[in-house]
């Protein structure tokens, strides 16, 4: 009998602790739900349980005690995914002590209190990919994060998401005597030409290949590169001009690498080849003409409909902010992509499910489906309308931003 009482008390205790956690059900009612994965749902309901989408559709019964977010006639869509965002890091993004630094992780430097994160979430972005800077040939490992959490571990959705490779001339830029400083040999060892960039890349992968066969991977750098060769880690390659893109394809062929191209300003020139090889692209930043003298000197040519031409050719296209904090938000990027000729649905996918797929997190984010994270953006109207405003952002089932 006494045992029974003890057991009962114990059970009550357990229930008391568990029960409040279970009741966390939120229902979002909206005039129009753009699921992205399927047809839009009119006057639908999304049920959120424990930060995940439990149910989505029309005529779903809202359980008693659920917190209801009535978005009225608003339009609801999945939280946006920025596949190339400005890194929420204080200080420099470029480790200049070596030009081949595959083991560096940007996740070690994340700052959850970053202003950039607080800003980007207000533009509807709930998942972002960030990586080390552009000053290294092989810069290090990027990470997929959500703009939430107090410590970096809470932010991370997927670490070691991709290896950053920069084939544009950015990785030669640090190769000069710093102004007003004592010149040292230190700054003279970087590659100065495209020849050297490609040679360094080739050498790195060659070494990794040798190591891979010998089964003795003691060098951590080579371990990362071997993982790339084994397709365990994708590589993001910065390539703007068509000539650089072709060079990247060549190196990829030599080592059997799976590429994801970033920036890709002249991608429209090689759209057919990219489609044939099924190479996805992450576009951005966007500009009307080469903006600065450096861009003119580089010789890049802009086609406003780059995204449209690529997607029409069958290339997977993601629209991103291109690591520029002051750039247009990706919803605006999608609006202008459509203005310049991209298909409407493709443009919406290009800021949600496509980047999620490219980053390998499509099982968690990128569309509104049962079982996925409850990352939801509530908009005042059609997402491709300039006068539409982000009214509310829900991240993992919690409202993280709303307008007054």
């Amino acid at each position: 009998m006494r045992n029974c009482i003890i057991l009962l008390t114990f059970l009550l205790f357990v229930l008391a602790f568990v029960a409040p956690g279970r009741a966390e059900i939120i229902a979002v009612k909206a005039g129009r739900i753009l699921t992205i994965s399927g047809e839009p749902v009119e006057n639908g309901v999304i049920l959120i349980e424990d930060g995940k989408i439990a149910e989505i559709g029309v005529g779903i019964e809202i359980p008693e005690g659920a917190a209801v977010i009535d978005a009225g006639k608003s339009v609801v869509m999945p939280g946006l995914v920025d596949a190339s965002a400005a890194a929420p890091v204080r200080g420099d993004l470029n480790e200049q002590s070596n030009e081949i630094t595959p083991t560096l992780r940007i996740s070690d430097a994340l700052d959850p209190q970053s202003k950039a994160l607080k800003r980007i979430v207000q533009t509807g972005v709930t998942t972002l990919f960030v990586s080390p800077g552009r000053r290294n040939v092989i810069g290090g490992l990027g990470v997929v994060v959500k703009p939430t959490g107090k410590i970096p571990q809470q932010m991370i959705l997927k670490d070691e998401a991709a290896l950053r490779v920069v084939m544009d001339l950015d990785s030669t830029q640090g190769n000069r005597i710093p102004r007003y400083q004592v010149p040292t040999d230190f700054y003279y060892r970087r590659p100065g030409t495209r020849m050297a960039i490609i040679w360094m890349l080739r050498k790195s992968f060659f070494d990794a290949q040798q190591q891979k066969d010998s089964e003795q991977t003691e060098d951590p750098n080579l371990a990362v590169l071997s993982a790339v060769l084994k397709d365990e880690i994708p590589i993001h390659v910065n390539a703007r001009r068509a000539i650089v893109i072709r060079a990247a394809l060549k190196v990829a062929d030599e080592y059997g690498l799976k590429l994801i191209l970033q920036e890709c300003t002249e991608g429209y020139k090689v759209a057919g080849q990219l489609a044939e090889r099924k190479i996805p692209v992450v576009l951005g930043p966007f500009y009307y003409y080469p903006g600065s003298m450096g861009q003119y000197r580089e010789g890049r040519k802009v086609n406003w409909n780059n995204a449209g031409i690529l997607s029409k050719a069958g290339v997977k296209v993601a629209l991103a902010s291109g690591e520029q904090a002051g750039a247009i938000d990706i919803l605006t990027a999608a609006i202008f992509a459509v203005r310049h000729g991209m298909d409407r649905d493709e443009a919406l996918k290009a800021i949600t499910i496509t980047p999620a797929e490219i980053l390998g997190v499509a099982d968690r984010v990128g569309s509104l489906e049962k079982g996925k994270d409850a990352d939801i953006v509530v908009l005042s109207g059609d997402p491709l309308n300039v006068t539409t405003r982000v009214e509310k952002v829900i991240l993992n089932g919690k409202t993280v931003y709303k307008i007054d």
């Binding site: 009307y288 086609n303 300039v386 006068t387 405003r389």
Partner: protein, 425 residues
């Protein structure tokens, strides 16, 4: 005799041919009637399925029930939205260099520096901006005078609407100088000018007393500043920071100047002061700024047009041609509408208000009888990003057609050879 009549006949024939050819080369149609799906008049309510009657480049009548004369050439624009061309009240683009190195150069003019071939003007026409005041940049204290042009023509003379309009005064200190020194320089210039003018008046009075002819003219390098004091020129005062606003108002009050404020993004903090001054305002092209709330440590979006709109300030927008979105005046207006500004007011801020600020509202800025027929034909609503400027009419003449815009085609269409040769290895 016979041969002579022959020659006369042939010459008459030739003249007729030449005249005929000339007539075809310049198809100036005296009477036009634009039948539009929707007319955004700005002056009043929108007109659906209306007619704009134009004679010699001037609007004669607008409305639904306008009778089209038998001899008018009809432009069918049933599926188009017609509105007055956008007006840009302040820009320093289209110049080879926007700033002079010396700080006090009120006597220079952008008229000498405007580059008609600049892509800025070509883009402006494409984007529906048909009138702009080109002023010197914001780096010089007394920067020089501005020029109002239309972005159409091969020479500055052909583009010209009004020369010698507005004088740029920048309150942002130039490099390596402080705000103290900058203001002191201004005060000294003005006091020197005052001495000079007193001197001049004295000489004039003396000459009159002695009944001598007086033919000394005012120093050309000082003339624009004298015109500024006489209100023949308007001061376009650039304020970089909020603190500069009070100085701009002080200058305006001290010297009794006609003033337009050209504001940097930070100046919204002086909105109360600006509202009380009742001065016209030209906003920076950056309409949304972020600020950290010091109490909550949260990042807050400041919507500049809304702050000014709520304070009752009349303003015009600027653009930044290198940036997505900000490149277009319609986008600036749409941004303001997005955050709560009334549509009609936002549309006025890109047409009528800037026209008023630069003093061309008697001719431009709205569709009304008596104004110039400078119109844009849009494929849809002006605030919709999917609308394009299809045609531009300047004073009754179609000067831009999207269908013939080869450059735009090149920027939007895939290159001819999509598939490049593959590597053969």
């Amino acid at each position: 005799m016979k041969s002579r009549s022959h020659i006369t006949f042939i010459s008459i024939l030739l003249t007729a041919c030449v005249l005929n050819a000339l007539a075809h080369a310049a198809p100036v149609r005296r009477k036009l009637a634009v039948k539009a799906g929707r007319i955004i008049t700005i002056a009043g309510k929108d007109v659906k399925n209306g007619v704009i009657l134009i004679k010699d480049g001037v609007i004669k009548a607008v409305g639904k029930e306008v009778e089209i004369p038998w001899d008018a050439f009809v432009i069918e624009a049933k599926d188009r939205v017609v509105m007055p061309g956008f007006v840009l009240a302040h820009t320093s683009s289209g110049l080879d260099r926007a700033n002079e190195n010396m700080p006090e150069v009120p006597f220079i003019s952008t008229f000498d520096s405007i580059d008609p071939i600049s892509t800025f003007f070509e883009d402006s026409l494409r984007d529906g901006v048909v009138t702009m005041l080109v002023l010197p940049g914001n780096n010089t204290l007394l920067g020089g005078t501005g020029t109002i042009v239309k972005p159409y023509g091969r020479t500055v003379e052909a583009m010209l609407i009004k020369r010698y309009t507005g004088l740029k005064i920048s309150l942002r200190p130039s490099q390596n100088t402080s705000r103290m020194g900058h203001m002191q320089r201004f005060r000294r210039y003005m006091s020197d000018l005052k001495d000079y003018l007193e001197d001049y008046e004295q000489k004039k009075a003396d000459a009159e007393e002695e009944k001598k002819p007086f033919d000394e003219e005012i120093d050309v390098t000082k003339q624009p500043m004298v015109d500024l004091l006489n209100k023949r020129l308007t001061a376009f005062v650039y304020c970089d920071r909020a603190a500069d606003v009070s100085k701009a108002i002080e200058i305006k009050n001290t010297h009794k100047l006609d003033t337009v404020l050209v504001l940097g993004p930070d100046c919204y903090k002086a909105v109360g002061l600006i509202a009380r001054s009742k001065l016209p305002v030209i906003l920076d092209s950056q309409l949304v700024v972020w600020e950290t709330n010091e109490q909550t440590n949260e990042e807050e979006m400041k919507i500049i047009p809304m702050i000014f709109h709520k304070a009752g300030v009349k303003f015009a927008f600027q653009i930044d041609t290198s940036q997505y979105g900000r490149r277009y005046l319609w986008y600036q207006a749409a941004t303001a509408v997005k955050y709560g500004m009334k549509r009609q007011e936002a549309l006025k801020s890109i047409t009528l208000y800037p026209a008023q600020f630069i003093g061309v509202d008697d001719r431009l800025g709205s569709i009304e009888a008596g104004k110039e027929a400078t119109l844009i034909f849009l494929t849809g609503d002006p605030l919709d990003a999917q609308s394009w400027v299809d045609q531009v009419m300047v004073a009754g003449e179609i000067v831009y057609e999207r269908a013939k815009d080869e450059r735009l085609k090149k920027l939007l269409e895939p290159p001819l050879i999509m598939q490049e040769p593959k590597d053969t290895d």
